[in-house]
Subunit: 256 residues, 4 copies
Amino acid sequence: MDELEIDAVAEADLDEPVLVEGLPGVGHVGKLAVDHLLEELEGESTLVRRIYSREFPPQVSVEDGVADLTCAEIYAVSPPDGRDLLLLTGDHQAQTNAGHYVLTSAFLDVAEEFGASEVYALGGVPTGELIEEYAVVGAVSEASLREPLEDAGVEFRENEPAGGIVGVSGLLLGLGERRGFEAACLMGETSGYLVDPKSARAVLEVLETTLAFELDYESLDERADEMEDVIGKIQEMEQQQQGMDVPTDDDLRYIG
Amino acid sequence: MDELEIDAVAEADLDEPVLVEGLPGVGHVGKLAVDHLLEELEGESTLVRRIYSREFPPQVSVEDGVADLTCAEIYAVSPPDGRDLLLLTGDHQAQTNAGHYVLTSAFLDVAEEFGASEVYALGGVPTGELIEEYAVVGAVSEASLREPLEDAGVEFRENEPAGGIVGVSGLLLGLGERRGFEAACLMGETSGYLVDPKSARAVLEVLETTLAFELDYESLDERADEMEDVIGKIQEMEQQQQGMDVPTDDDLRYIG
Amino acid sequence: MDELEIDAVAEADLDEPVLVEGLPGVGHVGKLAVDHLLEELEGESTLVRRIYSREFPPQVSVEDGVADLTCAEIYAVSPPDGRDLLLLTGDHQAQTNAGHYVLTSAFLDVAEEFGASEVYALGGVPTGELIEEYAVVGAVSEASLREPLEDAGVEFRENEPAGGIVGVSGLLLGLGERRGFEAACLMGETSGYLVDPKSARAVLEVLETTLAFELDYESLDERADEMEDVIGKIQEMEQQQQGMDVPTDDDLRYIG
Amino acid sequence: MDELEIDAVAEADLDEPVLVEGLPGVGHVGKLAVDHLLEELEGESTLVRRIYSREFPPQVSVEDGVADLTCAEIYAVSPPDGRDLLLLTGDHQAQTNAGHYVLTSAFLDVAEEFGASEVYALGGVPTGELIEEYAVVGAVSEASLREPLEDAGVEFRENEPAGGIVGVSGLLLGLGERRGFEAACLMGETSGYLVDPKSARAVLEVLETTLAFELDYESLDERADEMEDVIGKIQEMEQQQQGMDVPTDDDLRYIG
């Protein structure tokens, strides 16, 4: 196998589609959002490309005994209303620094092939505490993209995210800009400790406005309710621990 | 030395052989199984290929003062009954993620060269506790391969192994499928803490059925008895520790 | 994206310029020094090259919501007095050992392109304690470069720095010498625990002498005063802790 | 800089020389031995090759302020008595697994260029305790090389070294054998905690016999006496600690 292999599973005729990326990351916000889009737009979507790479972990996933080699998948979607989409999803990020550059370049190649010149990278930004109001923080490849996103409720903050944006989401902006894409990263605020469907909904609501489509959130809200139960139990435990030791980093492991 | 060098030690004329892989892994189940096959079929087997690679550790093993460079070995076997085999064994896995892709591709190249289109990857699946009944869990490269394996007693479970299959065993399915191989992974249940000859026997008994040969298990059973003694001593120690601290991860280090 | 991409942002006609490097490192001394040079010589400086590489972290920085892909930047400067300069700055070092070789080679390529044959690598040398008198320790690519630097107050010590010089600063000397550059590394003494503007000033004062220009230090001194306040508070805390536990390595984390 | 650059510093006309390798490793035994050879045979030795590589740490060493890029050096030696030699020394091993393969291949290229077909890799084998009688353990690339080494006092043991031989020393046997070299590794027993000149002498005494030259050991013995003093102090401390806590791994850090 070469460093990178792109399988053309099917073709699709799209009209100036927008690439929307949702690989795993903080709070699984980006992945939850894109997977929800795929679920809701199932009737209008076609798997068009699979991207295999030595930069992914050397691993198959197994479902009902049938193995699938780790890859990223790109779906072509022509929703009844709103813009055409290319949805990028997968179970893994690259395993090396250089690998993020290799994979992001491949994703942009596919986007270009289908005529896309706009990119949304979806993700989460960790706040370290449970969220009441889910703000969506933005970053853009060029300043002119800020205003329409601010109109859709996205917040641009002076020094956030403080450490920059790492991985495919960051490079879609950085490499995208170098190749002439208009790219934005939408990051839902999230505690960072939990898989966060509410944060994913906040991000999707921005997309509804900017891409002019409408979504049903029933299944995502159900998942959010399940997480609420988990949060309720954690808060109960925290109250019982008051006056006791403060939780260590180990207590705050990822739950989802 | 190049990234990969395949030495043609000998040639062999095989009839649609099956590649059977047994590199080190959980419980050393795969390696024990293939090494037992090699021992039992010694008269009918020929070392045909050695695969050297920079992806292996930079290391020689030493026996009676004579050094051997780390490599994987493939033996051609024509058993008196049953299918022709290509047995893949070795002392090491690749040392990087990308290395697993490189080595698995090389193994499939050799398999193809000898006319093989079927692969069995042998290994163990950790249960975290000592095993009474040794089930064999399966995963396959395509759904049609499930039924004959189920008939041979292999279990296919909805969400197992939960983390997928990592390393050469996983990639033999994943890369194999992409190259047109029919590939199955047979994973003997094993505690994960001990070298497990009983689990290796359970896996081999499946192969006896599917590949129509017969094996003697005396030497493997002897090794299993030795491990039983080790297990007995561990259980004794555990009973003495009742009411004491539970064992930590460090207490459960690999014993073999 | 290739392993390395050098963007020609602008051209400049320089007269035997000197490359001055200030990437992040011990006490941020080199970066502080070059960034101060850039600030003071802003009117005479032009950004000429951006160097992008897979060897940098896969990351964008974000300022006011606008993302910038990690890169190193080289500015051409023609100061009213003194030598022409090429100033090399950036926010990151390479992420792998081999990456330091790749990036340093690229920096020397650019220097050569602009006609430079001399290099100053600026950095800090950690002493482990707070500094009263800021000495500047030197290392050179060939012995004949020592005397003029000694005349400018640089100290050359028998066995310092004991562990050699690691990263781009070291390789500018090592690879530079192999390509015919005259290269010197100027290392300001610094505690190693704090961002150290005073050490940066000590290094710049050497450059003033050797490159015959004059600098205003007001903004750097202001930053030094801020750090003095931080140091004062740390010393206060230390006095309160006398008779208590000695600080561990963890107490001495980088502050800046 | 390329992945590997070999500088031809000088040429030498050697008669079937033997490559003797002494890079840093356990107890610095190999490096001490080859550096002592170089010191004793200084009048008859010429630096012929420097090997630079991205696989070495990105680092310069500094002596009296003058920087030298990390490299390995090969000296040609024509001693008054005994065989011609190629002495390989340096301050660093490769930094990655694949790097050990790259560098060892380069060393064998140089050896071949000078007409060598025999290799001695020198090193130490850790025993975990202080040594009274310094045995030298051997490993060879082919069984026929054992007998002459046994006659020179080298011990060949059934299962030692248990973990094989890692790094350049191991690969000189493994890759050397594949390229037609006769290669032996001589490993002086050493505690593993101390730089061990006595172990280096034991190894050199074997070479005196097999390569038919004579060495003066005054300077090496002086260094051994210094280490004896260190050992004496450690043993004193150990006696004072009797009845106290056993030393942890951290107490047994490398001293030299």
